[in-house]
Amino acid sequence: MTGEMPSFVLSHFLLTGAVLFALGLIGFVTRRNLIIMFLCTELMFQGVVVTLVAFAFHHGNLEGQTFVIFVLTIAAAEAALALALVVLLFRRRRTLDAAAWAQLQG
């Protein structure tokens, strides 16, 4: 199966993952809305996940895909926690601007 697979397919998948990751990163750095920033982190997650699946497919084993299942499970739990935190932070300051919490500096 590996032999029949054209090599550019892998690079396409990897490129998709890299684009997703870069988009998420840029969004995280540029946006100030906490929810958007959180979504951007999720986007970076998905970029990495696509890369993992692509390599798993490329190498013909299931380790990468198993790993992806775990990542998705944890990401779901973490998303619930993160959104709850965002709600709490919003209740404190009545705003979603990340700069409102900038005084938590060292």
């Binding site: 990163l25 750095v29 100030r32 990340a98 500096q105 060292g106």
Partner: protein
């Protein structure tokens, strides 16, 4: 009683000090501190009087008059070891086994057999190179000192139980008194110089604690510090003297040192010339001689029983005791004992002139103490059996009459709420009759009125000085000692004058007085001490709620009873104790090496007795004329001689000169050193403390709290790591 029980003499007061500290736990327990202390000191006194005279060879005491008993120290006194303290042991190497075996045979106290050194193969023996135990050397001199320390100590403690009642820190006072008795008995019983020095420093500590007893009073704190620091100067010399003694004799055990110093083979070298002068520094510091006398008058800031016990009767005599104990060391240097005598003679006259123009009763007696200590120094510094006996006998009689004088002046102070100025009191004999006649007895003795105690002791000193000056008992006639003797006679006149000046001023003439400011009922105290004071009312102290503020009154019976014993001592100790003390001193180590009495000097003694008796009566009459009968004449003479009076009142301005030329330069030097400490030492420390702060300051901006910033930092770090990894991968 077994001789070995003497080891309890210092330790009973030591336990009493601990118990007094424990009694501080509960306010209700504190008033038992006096009973504990008195019981402990009295028990020590009884042990000392029953057990200690058993020490030594009774044969020696039999023929003490001739002084022909040889020089065996071991026969004069006995050593009682309480427990081992400091032992250093080291190997002594030998060439052959036979040499090592011979050495162990010669020294039966070695505990180990010769052994082979595994490294060098030489023979060696383990032996003690330094030994200082809690061991007590008891000879007749120690017995005399124990009589003074424990006897006067217990009387003063009884007096203190009344005098101090209601004071804040009642238990603290008795704890310090017990500590003092522990220390002082250690000094007079010490078998080695290290233990002697330990006790010497402990009496200094107890004195410091008791001078600073009223620690909320700045003058008391300053006086305590002054006493401690001035004593340190002397003690530095004493410590160096002990070091040099150990270098010279390779032991610190007094009996062994004296044995070696008096042996015929001993050849004096420079160390023997230096040791007495270093030891003398300690003695003049503790016994308040010129130039280290300044602390003693200021020490009167302490409670009056302390002035009586420590700063008149006992502690200040420890210098005299030390010189007497180590006299054979002093005799090795031809100038040491004459220096002692000269210092003493000059101090006696110097302090007596100051005492004539003081107005504070306690200060008069303080300078009188300095002066009388000068007499004792003159006695022990004469190097003749009669003079040394006189110096140490004067130590005993002085303890009686000076304690009596201080305690009666304490009664006056107590009755007049802290008033001590003799210009502000007059005719108190009607108000406090017992105190009046008790102090009269003390003054008679201090003035050496014929047949009182000090008459005999002072006469013994004077006789000794003139025996030396006129060249009896194989001495060279000496003009210098004749001058010292004449100075001592002049001092005797001044002594009679100044003590009766105070007495006539205070107790004779019209009755008028001004109350002092001090509320000794404990005005600044918490209610707890007021309650304790109310309870103490029935022990005869005499203060109560019914006692008005503005009237003078006689002291209670608890305070008067010990004074009667002291007064009996001040009047009759001379007649009773003369023969006993002479036997004690002449069969102790103090006069062991002195020349034997060969000439008949009874005519000289009789002449001096008549002369000094006449001088005493003359001084008393002069004082009575000016300060009882014709006080206006005294005032006129005082105005005529105003500059002299001012000079004497200001103690020859010595304190001011010290302040200006000694204390202030030292303060300035201290400021400079403080600046160096602040700038260089503290600067260095601060610099090393600044480095972590600098690092933190440089790293702090990275923690700015902006989430995006953290994101960028993570990205940058990631990029860096990836770049490094890629470079590494492609480089291979």
């Amino acid at each position: 009683m077994e001789l070995s029980t003497v080891k309890w003499i210092p330790w009973l007061p030591a336990f009493s000090a601990v118990i007094c500290c424990l009694l501080c736990i509960r306010p209700a327990w504190r008033r038992y501190a006096a009973a504990v202390t008195v019981a402990a000191i009295l028990a020590s006194f009884i042990i000392a009087m029953l057990a200690a005279p058993r020490a030594g060879d009774p044969e020696i005491r039999g023929d003490y008059e001739t002084g022909a008993y040889g020089q065996e120290i071991a026969a004069v006194g006995e050593t009682v070891t309480a427990f081992r303290w400091i032992h250093f042991r080291d190997y002594r190497a030998f060439e052959t086994e036979e040499a090592a075996a011979a050495y162990t045979a010669e020294n039966p106290d070695l505990r180990d057999r010769p052994e082979l050194d595994p490294e060098t193969g030489a023979w060696r023996v383990l032996e003690t190179t330094f030994q200082a135990d809690f061991a007590y050397f008891i000879d007749p001199l120690t017995v005399l000192m124990l009589f003074v320390v424990c006897g006067i100590g217990s009387l003063v403690a009884i007096y203190g139980a009344g005098y101090m009642s209601g004071e804040r820190g009642y238990a603290r006072f008795f704890a310090a008194v017990s500590l003092f008795i522990f220390a002082m008995t250690t000094v007079v019983m010490a078998d080695n110089l290290v233990l002697l020095y330990l006790g010497w420093e402990m009496v200094g500590l107890a004195s410091y604690l008791l001078i600073g007893y009223y620690y909320h009073r700045p003058s008391a704190v300053a006086a305590a510090k002054k006493a401690f620091i001035v004593n340190r100067i002397g003690d530095l010399g004493f410590a160096l003297g002990i070091f040099l003694t150990f270098m010279r004799y390779e032991t610190v055990v007094i009996a062994e040192i004296l044995q070696m110093a008096t042996s015929a083979e001993h050849v004096a070298d420079w160390r023997d010339y230096a040791i007495p002068f270093l030891l003398l520094m300690g003695a003049i510091g503790k016994s308040a001689q010129i130039p280290l006398y300044m602390w003693l008058p200021d020490a009167m800031e302490g409670p009056t029983p302390v002035s009586a016990l420590i700063h008149a009767a006992t502690m200040v005599t420890s210098g005299v005791y030390m010189i007497a104990r180590l006299t054979p060391l002093f005799e090795l240097s031809p100038y040491a004992l004459p220096t002692v005598a000269t210092l003493g003679g000059i101090t006696a006259a110097f302090a007596a002139t100051i005492a004539t123009c003081q107005y504070d009763i306690k200060r008069i007696y303080a300078f009188s103490t300095v002066s009388q200590l000068g007499y004792m120094f003159m006695g022990v510094g004469m190097g003749l059996r009669y003079a040394v006996f006189g110096g140490l006998f004067h130590l005993l009689t002085h303890a009686f009459f000076k304690a009596l004088l201080f305690l009666t002046s304490g009664n006056v102070m107590h009755g007049l709420h802290g008033q001590l100025d003799i210009r502000k009191m007059s005719g108190l004999r009607k108000v406090m009759p017992y105190t009046c006649w008790l102090m009269f007895a003390g003054c008679l003795s201090l003035a050496a009125f014929p047949f009182t105690a000090a008459f005999f002791s002072k006469d013994a000193i004077l006789a000794g000085v003139f025996e030396r000056a006129l060249g009896y008992h194989g001495q060279e006639p000496s003009n210098w000692f004749f001058f010292l003797g004449s100075l001592a006679l002049a001092t005797a006149f001044l002594t009679a004058y100044y003590c009766f000046r105070a007495w006539f001023r205070v107790f004779m003439g019209p009755t008028e007085y001004e109350m002092g400011q001090e509320d000794h009922n404990g005005g600044d105290d918490a209610p707890a001490s007021a309650a304790a004071h109310a309870e103490s009312h029935d022990d005869g102290h005499g203060h109560g709620k019914d006692h008005g503020r503005g009237e003078a009154h006689e002291a209670g019976w608890l305070m008067l009873a010990p004074l009667f014993i002291l007064a009996a001592g001040a009047l009759f100790a001379g007649m009773v104790g003369y023969g006993i003390v002479k036997q004690l001193i002449w069969s102790s180590t103090a006069t062991m090496t002195m020349p034997a009495i060969v000439d008949d000097t009874s005519a000289l003694h009789l002449t001096l007795m008549v002369l000094s008796g006449a001088i005493a009566i003359g001084g008393i009459c002069t004082a009575g004329w000016f300060h009882w009968l014709h006080r206006d004449a005294a005032a006129r003479v005082g105005e005529r001689a105003a500059p002299l009076v001012r000079l004497l009142y200001n103690k020859y301005y010595i304190d001011d000169l010290c302040e200006r030329y000694l204390v202030r330069p030292l303060h300035a030097a201290g400021e400079v050193l403080y600046l160096i400490d602040r700038v260089i030492i503290d600067g260095l420390v601060a610099f090393f403390g600044f480095i972590p702060r600098l690092l933190g300051w440089s790293a702090r901006p990275s923690q700015h709290g902006v989430l995006q910033g953290y994101g960028v930092a993570m990205l940058a770090a990631l990029a860096l790591i990836v770049t490094v990894v890629m470079l590494a991968v492609y480089a291979t």
